[in-house]
C-alpha cells in the first residue's frame, strides 16, 4: 500500500463526499430555521433530472447549473408553501416531496431514454469538459499534494467555500442569529420584530438550492454524464442523518461528509484478495453506519447540541 494508493483513496473520498456536503449544508440551514425537511432525496432527484435535461438539450453548463439549483429551489418552495403558509405536517410533507421528486426523476429519465435511439442518454463531451478536474498551473502538478489539494473539480472548492460561509453566517452574523432564534422559538423571534415566515422561506430555499446543486454534481460527476436510474439512491437520507451527526454545525459537516464519502468508496480500495466482502455488505455499510450514528447521538446527547426546538412545529401567531 503505497503513498499514491492512499492519496488516490483520499481523492476518491472527497469526490464521493461532496454531494453529501452540499445536501447536508442545505438541510442544516433549513433546520436551523425550525423546518424539518425530509424531502432532500426528492429535491436532489429533481435537481439531477432538471439539470440533466437542460444539459442534454442545451449543452450549456451555466444553464445546467441554473436549472439544477433553480429546480431545487422551486421544489423546496412546495414544501415551504405547504408547511410555513398552509401549516401542514412537516414530516409528511417532506416525504411527499421525496415521493414526488423520485417519481419525477424516473419519469423524466424514462421519457428521455425512451426517445433516444440507443435507449440511453449521455451528455455531450464538450459540455462535460467544463467539469473536469482543475489544473492550476504549477500547483496541480506538485507530486502527491497536488492531487490531494489542487486537482478537484470546481464543485468541491465551492462546497468548502459554502461551508465556511455558512458557519460564519450562523455564528457571527445578525441574520444568522435571527435565523437561529426563529428555529428555537418562533414566538420570541416574532415578538422581536423578525419576519418569521420570510426567514423560513429563505432558509428552506437555500436548502433546496443546495440539494439541487448536489443533484447537478451527481449528474455530471458521480454518474459521469450518463443518465442513471436511482442515481441518488439514499444519499439524501444520509444527508439528513449527517445533519444530526454534525450537530447542526457547518464545519463539522465537512468532517461528516468525508467519513461518509469514505464509506461509499471503501469497496474499491479494499482488494478482494485481502478480504472478500460481498457487495451487499458494502452497499449496506453507509446505511448501517448512519443508523448507528443516529442511535449513538441520541444516547449521548448533550444540552447544547440539540435539534432546534422549532423543528416539526408550525408557527401560528394567533394560536392560543
Amino acid at each position: 500500500m503505497d503513498i499514491n494508493y492512499i492519496s488516490s483513496f483520499i481523492f476518491a473520498v472527497v469526490v464521493a463526499g461532496t454531494p453529501l456536503l452540499f445536501a447536508t449544508l442545505g438541510e442544516i440551514i433549513t433546520q436551523k430555521g425550525g423546518n424539518l425537511n425530509l424531502g432532500v432525496e426528492g429535491m436532489m432527484y429533481i435537481g439531477v433530472a432538471s439539470g440533466f435535461t437542460v444539459a442534454y438539450y442545451t449543452k450549456n453548463p451555466i444553464l445546467f447549473i441554473l436549472a439544477a439549483v433553480g429546480s431545487g429551489v422551486l421544489a423546496s418552495m412546495i414544501y415551504a408553501l405547504l408547511t410555513v403558509t398552509l401549516k401542514a405536517n412537516q414530516t409528511v410533507t417532506g416525504l411527499a416531496l421525496t415521493i414526488f421528486g423520485t417519481g419525477f426523476a424516473n419519469f423524466v429519465g424514462e421519457t428521455i431514454t425512451t426517445n433516444s435511439p440507443t435507449r440511453t442518454a449521455v451528455l455531450d463531451a464538450q459540455f462535460m469538459s467544463f467539469f473536469k478536474p482543475a489544473s492550476i498551473p504549477g500547483l496541480s502538478s506538485i507530486p502527491i499534494l497536488g492531487k490531494l489539494l489542487f486537482q478537484y473539480n470546481g464543485f468541491v472548492y465551492a462546497s468548502l467555500l459554502i461551508s465556511i460561509t455558512a458557519g460564519w453566517f450562523l455564528y457571527r452574523n445578525i441574520h444568522g442569529l435571527n435565523l437561529r432564534a426563529v428555529g428555537e422559538n418562533a414566538a420570541a423571534a416574532d415578538a422581536s420584530g423578525i419576519n418569521v415566515a420570510r426567514t423560513k422561506y429563505l432558509a428552506i430555499g437555500f436548502g433546496g438550492a443546495m440539494s439541487g446543486l448536489a443533484g447537478a454534481y451527481i449528474a455530471v460527476i458521480t454518474a459521469g454524464g450518463t443518465w442513471t436510474a436511482n442515481s441518488v439512491s439514499g444519499l439524501g437520507w444520509i444527508a439528513v442523518a449527517l445533519v444530526i451527526f454534525a450537530g447542526w454545525n457547518p464545519y463539522k459537516a465537512i468532517m461528516g461528509s468525508v467519513i461518509f464519502g469514505a464509506l461509499r468508496v471503501l469497496r474499491f480500495y479494499i482488494p478482494k484478495q485481502v478480504v472478500d466482502i460481498p457487495n451487499s455488505l458494502y452497499g449496506a455499510l453507509p446505511f448501517v453506519v448512519t443508523a448507528l450514528v443516529i442511535i449513538l447521538t441520541s444516547v449521548y446527547n448533550s444540552k447544547e447540541i440539540q435539534q432546534p426546538s422549532g423543528c416539526g412545529i408550525n408557527y401560528d401567531r394567533e394560536e392560543r
Binding site: 405536517n89 411527499a96 424514462e110 437520507w237 444530526i244 451487499s280 448501517v288 444516547v299 394567533e318
Partner: protein
C-alpha cells in the same frame, strides 16, 4: 421619536388575513379531502395535456386498464392487497405519532423469514407450512419494527430516520441472500432466488391469491382495535401526549413497542403474502415502494381503516392504470408515482382549509 415603519403604519389594513377556525367540522374535513383529490387529478390532467395527451382519454384508459376485464380487476386487487395491509400498519403507528416510514423494510424482512420456510421446508404439510410462514413473517416484521421503537422509547431517537435506514438495510439483506446463501443454482446470469415449490404457494380464490381475504378481515379487526379496545385508547392517548399518558399511569414505553411490533408484524405479513401469493419467490422488489405509497394512503384516509380500503383501491387503480397507459400512450409508468405525489401535496395543502379561513379586508366599518 416616531420611527417610520416599512409596512402598514398609517396605511391600509392588509387585504387578506388568515383566521383560525374554532369550530371544526367533520363533514367539512371529508369534503375538503375529496376536493383535494379532484384538484390533484385536475393538476395531473394539466400535466398530461402539457405532454400532448388528452387527459380524459388517459384517465379513462387508466380505469379501463384496471377494471376493464376480469384479469385486469384481479391485477388491480393484487396491487391493492399489500398496499392496504401496509397502510393499516402505518395507520397504527401514525396514530401514536410514531412516524414509521419503515413498513417497506418490515415487509421485506417478513418476506425473508417466510421465504426461509418456503425454500427449505417445502416438504411440510401445506397448511402447516403456510401457517408457519405467516407466523414467521409477522414475527420477523414485528421484531424489525421493534428495534426503532425500542430506541425511540428509551432514548428519544428519531424514528423517521432509523426506520428509513432499516429499509435500505433490509434491501441489502435480500441482495446478500440472493447472491450468496440462497442463490438458485439453476439460475443463469443474474443471481436470483429459486421459485417456491407449489406446496408453498397460496391458493387463488377468485383468481387472486388468498391475501385479499386476509386484507378484508384485517380492516374491521384494526378498526375495532383502534376505536374500542383498551390498546387503541392507549395508542390515542400516547399519540396525543406522552405526558398525559404517563400521568394516567400508562407504561408509555411498553405501548410504543407493542404497537410497533403489531405495525411491523402487519407489514411482515404483507411481505409473506406478496412473496408466496404474488411473486412466488423472493426478490429485491417484493415491497417495490409500497411502503411509501402506504403512507400517502393512510394520511389521505385520515388513519381510518374503512377509508383506507377505498383509498388503497384508488391508488391501485392509478398504478395498474399507469402500467396500462405506458403501453397505450407511451407515458412513463412513473407517471403514476408523480400523480400520487401530487395528490398528497393537494391533500396536505387543503387540510389548511379545514383549520383556517381567509378573511377579506372589511369594506367600511
Amino acid at each position: 421619536m416616531l420611527r417610520r415603519s416599512p409596512n402598514n403604519v398609517g396605511g391600509r389594513e392588509p387585504l387578506l388575513r388568515i383566521v383560525r377556525i374554532r369550530e371544526e367540522n367533520e363533514t367539512r374535513g371529508i369534503l375538503l379531502r375529496i376536493l383535494a383529490v379532484v384538484a390533484a387529478l385536475l393538476a395531473g390532467g394539466i400535466f398530461l395535456w402539457a405532454l400532448g395527451h388528452q387527459p380524459l382519454e388517459v384517465y379513462a384508459a387508466m380505469w379501463k386498464g384496471s377494471f376493464g376485464s376480469v384479469m385486469s380487476t384481479q391485477g388491480t386487487v393484487k396491487i391493492a392487497i399489500p398496499l392496504l395491509i401496509n397502510a393499516l400498519a402505518v395507520s397504527l403507528a401514525f396514530k401514536m405519532k410514531f412516524w414509521n416510514i419503515g413498513t417497506e423494510g418490515q415487509m421485506i424482512v417478513g418476506a425473508v423469514a417466510a421465504s426461509y420456510f418456503a425454500l427449505f421446508h417445502s416438504d411440510w404439510p401445506h397448511f402447516v407450512l403456510l401457517g408457519v410462514m405467516a407466523v414467521a413473517g409477522i414475527v420477523a416484521g414485528g421484531l424489525y419494527g421493534l428495534i426503532p421503537a425500542f430506541f425511540k422509547a428509551r432514548f428519544s431517537t428519531n424514528e423517521t430516520l432509523l426506520t428509513l435506514m432499516a429499509n435500505y438495510i433490509a434491501l441489502y439483506v435480500v441482495q446478500f441472500l440472493r447472491e450468496g446463501a440462497w442463490k438458485d443454482p439453476g439460475a443463469k446470469g443474474f443471481p436470483q432466488i429459486a421459485r417456491f415449490a407449489a406446496n408453498a404457494r397460496l391458493s387463488l380464490p377468485l383468481g387472486v391469491h388468498f391475501g385479499w381475504i386476509i386484507a378484508l378481515l384485517l380492516i374491521p379487526a384494526v378498526y375495532v382495535y383502534m376505536k374500542y379496545s383498551k390498546h387503541g385508547y392507549e395508542i390515542a392517548v400516547v399519540g396525543e401526549s406522552e405526558k398525559t399518558a404517563t400521568y394516567a399511569g400508562m407504561n408509555v414505553r411498553k405501548i410504543i413497542m407493542r404497537t410497533m411490533f403489531i405495525s411491523g408484524g402487519l407489514a411482515g405479513l404483507a411481505g409473506m403474502l406478496q412473496a408466496t401469493g404474488a411473486d412466488r419467490t423472493l426478490t429485491d422488489t417484493v415491497a417495490g415502494g409500497v411502503g411509501f405509497t402506504a403512507i400517502i394512503v393512510a394520511w389521505l384516509a385520515n388513519l381510518s381503516s374503512p377509508v383506507i380500503l377505498m383509498v388503497s383501491m384508488i391508488f391501485a387503480v392509478l398504478e395498474k392504470g399507469g402500467g396500462y397507459i405506458q403501453s397505450m400512450f407511451k407515458i412513463s409508468a412513473s407517471a403514476a408515482d408523480v400523480l400520487q405525489g401530487i395528490i398528497l401535496f393537494f391533500v396536505l395543502g387543503f387540510e389548511f382549509f379545514i383549520r383556517y379561513r381567509i378573511v377579506l379586508r372589511n369594506r367600511g366599518e
